[in-house]
Amino acid sequence: MTVHGADTPGPQLPAVPRRASTSAADQLVEDLYRGHALRLTRMALLLVGDQASAEDVVQEAFVGLYRGLGRLSDPGRAAGYLRVSVLNGCRSVLRARKRARLRRAEPAVAVWSAESAVLAGEERRAVLQAVARLPRRQREVLVLRYYFGLTDPEIAADLGVSRGTVASTASRALAALAAKTGEQA
């Protein structure tokens, strides 16, 4: 039985007057999965640290998409819906881990940790470790901007904050990283 909190709900899908047929809906989701699952899983990996958690978060996001499919009028918005769902899922994973650490549970091995053998390069590890120590919103902004390649207005829409907040958050995060990497240099 779980001890983590109720998760932040995904964004509401827009209501539409008619429901897509099951086969068409399934085809849409399959297309979305083929087109976006890998990139979303990689994004989740950068936020939660381990592949298994990242995969689960993305799977849950697609489950959420299934549930709201009947109200999805614009398939073009589905990718954004999935991205925000993955962000929320990553937050849930990280919240739950706090409780696990309180219980002194052994965390999953992060891709940037010394125990992980999948990532080459000490400098990369150091950068990712520094990112992992940033506040949650700063991490999200950096991943959305420098991995996902979103613009600041797109990031603002995903995170539900103003464009100015995105810019200032990114600035603070970069400054913190510059200070940390400078210390290590």
């Binding site: 699952a37 849930s92 002194r104 970069l174």
Partner: protein, 429 residues
């Protein structure tokens, strides 16, 4: 980038892109699981605890536990249903009260009535402690021990070695709460397990290596005098480490009804990482009548043939969650988990094992599901193993070999959210 040099910022940005790209590329399309089945859309009632997700997801290929253990016939021959039962008679089989703590800092603890869900009272941890982080119950169902820790600042990571102070709480026969009384034992750091003996006379605490202690330990205190005995694990194994990564983490130590035998879990780990090739976690029975010293010398290993237990397993079939030992010491009740193809088809079986042989002898509950959202959990087992408090997804109830009787709605609301995640972490004695 106001006030900052642009060149260093550009360098940081390039480092970020490179590091993100390199880490992301460790996942390839070939590694991705399949698309979740459409049927999952109607069963969103529960999700794995986040820190367990890696455990569940790691089992990407089926290992047929049930078949390998040869217990299919046992399960089929003894179905566990949800037939009607007299709830008052069923609830008489389980502890009258429970204590529960919240994951939300500052919420304190709650004492509730199992059969009604009535809240008997809410207890705030005394100053300077601010959060209850551990809870355990004695066999009388009315005596509880709570562990309290310093308050965590908002968003802070829990410190590695925060001290835990212990308090006793007794519920009167008519349900009135007594005073929270500090126990005459020292505050402990590195707590990984807590259990009150059935007679309420002793407290067992397991400790991970902390401070200058390089090894895991179990201490047993007399709650009357504070007298202490200590057993030390001779090696790099950690006690309670695997259990604390499970949902029912608060039962990582368990007493048998004789008030002498204590079950604990050891996970083998070396400085180089988790042990490979062998079984990473083992269950042992400690004879607390011994005078202390080596845990290994004072304990007996519980046989678990053909399976594995622990969060870090090298096989893809394993016991999920901390097993329960029945009070009479005859059986072990464990939740088995396996993932069958196509990806993410989950099979859960709550199975009883013989403590003597390690062989399965029956099943209390079995669930095969396309989603892991209704995963069950074991929270309490009676002395003979024929009644248990289970969670079937978000629903807590009393499981017997033939019936499942949900706790009343008030208790359900108190313990779990509609999505199955817990409001509170309960302990029954």
């Amino acid at each position: 980038m106001k006030g900052l040099e642009e060149a260093p910022m550009r360098a940081v940005e390039e480092q970020l892109r490179d590091a993100f790209s390199a880490a992301a590329d460790t996942i390839t399309a070939q590694h991705l699981p399949g698309l979740p089945a459409p049927a999952r859309r109607i069963r969103m009632t529960r999700r794995w605890p986040g820190w367990l997700a890696p455990v569940a997801a790691a089992a990407t290929v089926a290992g047929v536990i049930i078949a390998s253990l040869g217990i299919s016939g046992v399960i089929l021959g003894r179905p566990a249903g949800t037939g009607p039962a007299s709830s008052s008679r069923v609830f008489a089989e389980v502890p009258r009260y429970f204590v529960a703590t919240s994951e939300i800092p500052g919420r304190g603890a709650v004492v509730g009535a199992t059969a009604t869900g009535a809240v008997l009272g809410r207890i705030a941890p005394p100053e300077p402690s601010q959060d209850f982080t551990w809870e355990a119950a004695a066999g009388d169902g009315r005596t509880f021990v709570l562990g309290a820790s310093p308050k965590l600042s908002r968003g802070a990571e829990p410190p590695a070695d925060q001290p835990v102070k212990f308090y006793r709480l007794v519920v009167g026969r008519s349900g009135q709460l007594g005073q929270l009384a500090p126990l005459p034992i020292p505050a402990e750091t590195g707590v990984s397990g807590l259990a009150v003996s059935p007679d309420g006379g002793k407290l067992a605490v397991s400790l991970l290596p902390a401070h200058r202690q390089a090894v895991s330990r179990i201490q047993v205190f007399s709650l009357a005098t504070g007298g202490q005995r200590e057993w030390v694990w001779p090696g790099p194994g950690t006690i309670g480490q695997a259990a604390t990564s499970f949902p029912n983490a608060n039962i990582s130590l368990q007493w048998e009804a004789d008030n002498r035998t204590l079950m604990f879990e050891v996970t083998m780990r070396t400085s180089a990482g988790w042990a490979s090739g062998g079984v990473p976690s083992q269950l042992y029975l400690l004879d607390t009548a011994t005078s202390g010293g080596s845990l290994l010398a004072s304990s007996t290993r519980i046989p678990l043939p053909d399976t594995e237990f622990g969060a870090h397993h090298s096989r893809q079939q394993y016991i999920f969650g901390m097993p329960f030992v029945t009070g009479d010491g005859s059986k072990l009740v464990a939740l088995f988990y396996r993932q069958a193809p196509p990806p993410k088809v989950n099979v859960f079986t709550i199975t009883e094992f013989s403590m003597r042989t390690g062989k399965p002898i029956g099943a209390l509950y079995r669930l095969r599901s396309g989603t892991d959202l209704n995963s069950p959990g074991v929270w309490w087992v009676n002395t003979s193993g024929n009644a248990a408090i289970l969670a079937r997804g978000p629903v807590f109830g009393v499981q017997t070999p033939t019936t499942f009787t949900p706790l009343p709605p008030a208790a359900q609301r108190l313990l779990a959210r509609p999505d199955g995640s817990l409001h509170l972490l309960p302990a029954w004695g």
